[in-house]
């Protein structure tokens, strides 16, 4: 039934139950740190803290996310924006531990890019996310470009190597 409905992202929690205002004590997933109060005041108007805690991105990625929210009406001042991006990219940047149980172990095939995949993709999410689906070369290229923007430490040549490796081992027919 839900597919009948579209909805405005910014107010989904409010519209769904009217209990959207999360207080600091309700946000155990948000560690202490500079900017936390602004995240609680601004972001948890609409989001539960799990929405941030389950994602890993660098400052570029979080700035992009916060920009998207500003474009749909989040009440953010320029100073808030810097504080929020700073907090999120520190608390939930690449290399910080994800909440919840560990991901399924994956034995990556040998290849030139195996070490690159381990050193980049695995910093932010489980390898089951890499190996879980067969994808087209175009899709792998698009995904790796995005991941680099979000913080995967891969230069242009390394990105090509990773795309070739993923296409070789996890290509859609």
């Amino acid at each position: 039934m839900h597919k009948l409905f579209a909805s405005a992202f910014v107010c989904i929690a409010m519209a769904a139950g009217g209990a959207a205002v999360a207080q600091p004590a309700d946000n155990p997933l948000l560690p202490e740190g500079p900017g936390r109060d602004r995240v609680v005041a601004v972001c948890t108007s609409c989001h539960v803290s799990r929405a941030f805690a389950q994602v890993r991105e660098n400052a570029n990625g979080w700035k992009n996310q916060v920009s998207e929210m500003i474009l749909i009406g989040a009440q953010v001042s320029p100073a808030d924006m810097d504080a929020i991006v700073g907090y999120l990219s520190t608390a939930f940047g690449p290399g910080t531990r994800l909440p919840g149980p560990p991901s399924q172990a994956v034995d990556l095939p040998d290849g030139a890019a195996k070490i690159l995949v381990l050193g980049s993709c695995a910093r932010c999410h489980g390898l089951d996310r890499v190996a879980g689906a067969k994808r087209s070369p175009r899709e792998w290229d698009h995904i790796v470009e995005r991941m680099a923007f979000y913080g995967a430490p891969l230069d242009e040549g390394q990105r090509k190597t990773v795309v070739a490796y993923l296409t070789e081992h996890y290509a859609a027919k």
């Binding site: 909805s7 409010m14 005041a41 989001h47 539960v48 929405a51 474009l71 009406g73 009440q75 924006m81």
Partner: protein
């Protein structure tokens, strides 16, 4: 007047000022269409699926303020109901009628009958009734139109007995003025004075606004109230709200409704006018809610003071009360100080939105913020902007609606498949206004191509824009961002990718005789809008399929669960 039930029905609709019947026919309601053969003051507008019929009537009602009238086949009722949810939740006046066999025949259980069919509509009808005889049909029709349009309005349902439509009878036809007196409830004077005092003395007030203002045509009065007191205002079309009753360009306008107000800090006095959703804003403040609809006042959130009244009259009375309670100089001082405070934020926020949007406004696929800039720049200010969008809602804070700017008409519950049909209904109601109807690929596919048939048949000169990101994109973002779960952790989009098959939407429109083109390059948007406008001026509809970026978490993925029915076969048949 003497005539068949069908003829009496049509004459009563005419006497009530009904100009259009939106319909999809069935055999049993033929006497209605027989009676239409020689009519020139009332017209039939056909939709080839019941949801289209209701959405056209709904759009017409929102833009005209008059009840929409829709007739559908009873067996197609579930299709109609999908769109009727929009009508019911937004309190839009609409009469939905269906022909049905006589009770005795129904009891035998025909091929298209099932017991309890009438009860399907009960939860989403303001009133439902069944007509049995031709003689009684005009009277019940009058009641239905009266109940639909008496505020708070809403859809009413009529089950028309087919023998009653066929038989001849004599009945009185009554002009609308004699049975449907408009009701405008003036608020209690003491309540208004109390609210006026609170607003004058407030340290950090907030005004939230909603659709009941639009329905009451009270935009001017609410604006006068806000400007008189320098009240910060929140409330535009979001999920649950379908219109933008306050000019978004105003320095007092903070944006859409949110659960709290980081830009203002803790609000002390919160006046909500005409919005059920607005009552859920600004927690911790003293909440005064002026509403047209008693059923939803205080339904989700307790209110400190509730007032049932026409929002237009209430705002007008508040303006007078405020003026009587404070000197002109005092009011100016209060308004100037508050306006300065909020304008400082809104100006910076507007600049920040613009700067952020500019950073990501080039490249292909087209980004929504670039499209927003192009639309804002191109569309005439008197355009009616009909929106059935999800991801595309991101464009709205970069555009201007309300006041002297574009009129916004959406659908509060956001049930998909509404926008193109509603756009046709809006154009019928306001033929001299430019109309653009925007839908996502999700809504286009969900609603099906049937609205294109009506656009083409009736030469409806509107621009349809389909924002195609080949996904239920915002749905995936919500699922992954709010729910997390295996789809996020494994990177597997089990539900939302629509790009396989990659439907050529422009070609689909062309198949229905609607001129159309696909737009991929941001530099070509303006020229494409120009071609659409030219076609509209010349009296033809035009569809633009704009391929937009599929953004957000998992947006790069094209993966979907691989499953082939052909592969199930053990022999090639």
């Amino acid at each position: 007047m003497k005539g068949t039930g069908g003829a009496l029905f049509v004459e009563q609709l005419k006497a009530a000022g009904v100009e259009y019947i939106f319909f999809n026919p069935s055999t049993g309601d033929a006497p209605i269409y027989d009676a239409m053969v020689d009519q020139t003051d009332i017209h039939l507008i056909k939709g080839v699926q019941e949801g289209v019929v209701v959405a056209m009537a709904d759009g017409y009602a929102r833009a005209s303020g008059k009840p929409g009238v829709a007739i559908v086949a009873a067996v197609g009722l579930p299709n109609a109901m999908t769109q009727l949810v929009n009508t019911y939740k937004d309190r839009i006046p609409l009469m939905l009628a269906m022909g049905v066999p006589a009770r005795e025949a129904e009891s035998r259980g025909g091929a298209q009958q099932y017991d309890g069919q009438e009860t399907l509509l009960t939860p989403i009808s303001k009133w439902a009734w069944r007509t049995e005889s031709a003689a009684g049909l005009p009277d019940i029709t009058r009641k239905a139109l009266k109940f639909a349009s008496t505020r708070p309005g809403g859809p009413v349902s009529l089950w028309l007995s087919e023998p009653g439509l066929r038989e001849e009878a004599t009945a009185t036809i009554v002009d609308e003025a004699a049975f449907n007196t408009p009701i405008s409830m003036r608020p209690n004077k003491a309540d208004i004075e109390t609210i006026a005092r609170l607003l004058i003395e407030a340290k950090n007030p907030l005004l939230t606004v909603g659709d009941e203002i639009t329905l009451a045509q009270g935009e001017r009065e609410v604006r006068e109230l806000a400007e008189l007191l320098g009240l910060p205002v929140m409330g535009s079309a979001v999920l649950g709200q379908w219109s933008t009753p306050f000019p978004t360009r105003s320095p007092l306008f903070l944006g859409g409704l949110q659960a709290n107000t980081p830009a203002l800090g803790q609000v002390d006095i919160h006046l909500n006018v005409g919005s059920w959703l607005g009552e859920q804003t600004a927690r911790g403040a003293k909440l005064i809610s002026i509403r047209q609809d008693p059923a939803t006042l205080g339904r989700a959130t307790p209110v400190d003071m509730g007032v049932i009244a026409d929002p237009k009259l209430a705002c007008a009375d508040l303006v007078e009360a405020v003026k009587s309670l404070a000197t002109k100089d005092r009011l100016k001082k209060i308004a100037d100080e508050r306006t300065r405070r909020v304008a400082d934020y809104t100006e910076k926020a507007r600049k920040l939105r613009h700067d952020v949007a500019m950073q990501f406004s080039t490249g292909s696929p087209i980004r929504l913020n670039r499209l927003a800039f192009e639309l804002e720049d191109f569309l005439d200010k008197d355009t009616i902007y009909v929106a059935d969008l999800d991801s595309g809602r991101k464009m709205e804070p970069l555009m201007n609606f309300g006041g002297d700017d574009k009129m916004y008409i959406g659908n509060g519950p956001a049930v998909l498949g509404w926008g193109i049909s509603a756009g046709l209904g809006v154009k019928l109601a306001r033929p001299d206004k430019p109309v653009i109807a925007l839908v996502g690929d999700g809504s286009f596919l969900f609603g099906g191509p049937q609205p294109l048939w009506s656009l083409s048949r009736y030469q409806a000169p509107i621009t349809v824009m389909v924002l195609n990101n080949r996904s239920y994109n915002n749905e995936r973002n919500r699922i992954w961002a709010f729910g997390g779960g295996s789809q996020l952790s494994r990177g597997l989009d089990m539900t939302c990718y629509n790009g396989s098959p990659d439907v050529d939407i422009a070609k689909t429109a062309q198949a229905f005789g609607v001129e159309a083109e696909q737009v991929n390059d941001p530099e070509t948007i303006k020229a494409a809008l120009g071609r659409a406008k030219r076609a509209n001026i010349e009296g033809r509809p035009y569809l633009l399929e704009v391929v937009i970026e599929r953004d957000g978490i998992g947006g790069a993925s094209e993966w979907h669960p691989p499953f082939s029915i052909a592969s199930l076969r053990t022999r090639k048949v």
